[in-house]
Each structure stands twice: as structure tokens, then as C-alpha cells.
Amino acid sequence: MSDAGRHPLFLPAVAVGGVVFGFGLGLSRMYRPEVVLRFLQLTDLGLLLVLGGASVVAGLVFAAASATGRTAPLTGREFGKRVKSMDRNVLVGGGIFGVGWGLSGICPGAAYASLGVGNVTILWAVVGMFAGAYLQGVARSSSGEAGRAETEGSA
């Protein structure tokens, strides 16, 4: 969506949502790579409750809003669900992400929240994530992969 005609409450709404999201990452201790690693080492399965609780809330809200057939108040967008096309990249990317997650215990959202808590050490991960995103972008730009029009609002 363009800046032209953007509702004055658009950025505030994004900000409120982000603060609640980040607070949740704090409360659930997901901002601590150690806690994520404990899940991946199968010694504390709490992360399942986090992911379960979050996806149930999101899923119910997506379904309910989509069923109304109405549009979002601040943008006029139609309410829909998150459905991405399936291809090989989904598997390869998921695998590469899995190795990184298993090695470090960090993922993007949790890293941002962790930085907010004052965990300066996590900057290594933030720098790494930008470097990784850049590297894959360079590779895909060079290989002439066109930016396929995917549904917006991706992860």
C-alpha cells in the first residue's frame, strides 16, 4: 500500500500490535535463546504452548474476520488468511532456517524483542540475519529470479 491516503491511525495500530507482540515474546521468555534451545534439546517443551497459544488466537481471528466478508477499517483491505504457494524453496528454506535455529536458538521476532530487553549480545544474530537475507537476495537477483507477485503481508 502507498503512503498516499494512508489512514492516520495506520502506523499507530502497527505500533500497538508490535508492542503487544514484543511483550509476549518477553513474557514467554522466547527472547532468551537458551529457552528456545531447551525446547530444541527436548528438556522443556514450553515453546509448544507459546506457538500453540499464538497460532490459535491468530487463526480464530483470521477465520472470524474472513467470514464477515468485511474489509479492514484502516486500509480497506479484504480480510483473508495467510496462504503461500508451495514450492521447493519452502522446504529448502525451512531446512536452512532449521539448522540456524538449532545452532543459535534465535529467530527474527524474538531477536528484535531480545534487543529491546537490552541483550546487546544478540546483535551478532541481527547482523547475521541481515547478512543472510542480503546474500540470498543477491543470489536470487543474479540468477534472474523475478520477484514473483506473492500475496503481501508475508512473514
Partner: protein, 157 residues
């Protein structure tokens, strides 16, 4: 007691935290219709500094400003939590090289795979999207295996 074995550190804060993460997603969604994940920010922000065709796509340029706001707000939410619960200033003991190398792989993998723990994990799973379920099953399975190997090699935490 099974719960004490599987959840030695309790469960309430995990569940409440998860509900708040879902609520944050819902606030953005109900007001804007946008399903906001956390990893697109990496590429949309790179569009400010790189002319590569991958980053200059409309979907990145058009969303880059609000994604910066979203990310800073997530950090602010973390700060609020830290201050409220006396955990502000906590730092991780995970080695810098693990964070850096892991971070690079997370950057590559989430963007190639079209999402991360919030996009595919929370929103995609919530949408019962087959693509997301496949992606999540893949990254969780691989991550568990990787973490087991790292732990077996004696690297802690």
C-alpha cells in the same frame, strides 16, 4: 508427573506469552488486514540501501516504513517487559559465533522459505496453510536434530 518432566519451568508464562503474541498479530490484522510476520523486515529494510532487483520489489518498498515501525515496536515491547519484570539488561550466554552463523542461516532460510516462526509458525499454522505446516514441520524437525548434535558435541548452553 509428566508435566514436571516436560515443563520443568512451569507453563503459565508460556501460554500467556503466546496468547499475547497472537493478540499483537490480531491487532495489526484487524485494523489493517495485514498478516505481519517478522522476517520480511530484513529484506524490506535492505531495499533502503541496496539496488538489487530482489529488494526493490514493490511489496518490499511499499511496506518498508511500517515494517521498521513494527520491528521497533517489538523491541519496545521487549523493553517494557524487561523493565516491568526486572529482566532488563539480561544478556545471553550463547557464544557469539553461534549467534552470527545461526543468524546468517536464519536470514537465508526464512527469506528463501517465505517466512519464519511468526509468519509460517503463528499466522500460517493458524490459517491451516499446508505450505506453512510443511515449512514449520521442516524447520522444527531440522532444528531439533541440529540442537541435539550441538549438545552432543558438548557445546553449551
Amino acid at each position: 508427573m509428566v508435566a514436571e518432566t516436560l515443563l520443568p519451568n512451569g507453563w503459565v508464562h508460556y501460554l500467556l506469552g503466546g496468547l499475547l503474541i497472537g493478540t499483537g498479530t490480531a491487532v495489526v490484522y484487524l485494523s489493517t488486514g495485514i498478516v505481519a510476520g517478522a522476517s520480511t523486515f530484513l529484506e524490506s529494510t535492505l531495499s533502503y540501501v541496496s539496488d538489487r532487483s530482489r529488494f526493490q520489489q514493490y511489496r518490499f518498498r511499499a511496506s518498508r516504513d511500517w515494517r521498521v515501525v513494527f520491528t521497533l515496536s517489538i523491541a519496545a515491547g521487549g523493553a517494557l517487559y524487561g523493565l516491568a519484570f526486572g529482566e532488563f539488561g539480561w544478556t545471553t550466554d550463547v557464544q557469539w559465533w553461534r549467534l552470527l552463523v545461526g543468524g546468517v542461516l536464519v536470514g537465508v532460510g526464512t527469506r528463501l522459505g517465505k517466512g519464519c516462526t511468526s509468519g509460517h509458525g503463528v499466522c500460517g499454522v493458524g490459517s491451516l496453510s499446508e505450505t506453512s505446516l510443511v515449512n514449520v514441520a521442516t524447520f522444527v524437525g531440522v532444528a531439533v536434530g541440529t540442537a541435539q548434535v550441538v549438545a552432543a558435541l558438548g557445546v553449551t548452553p
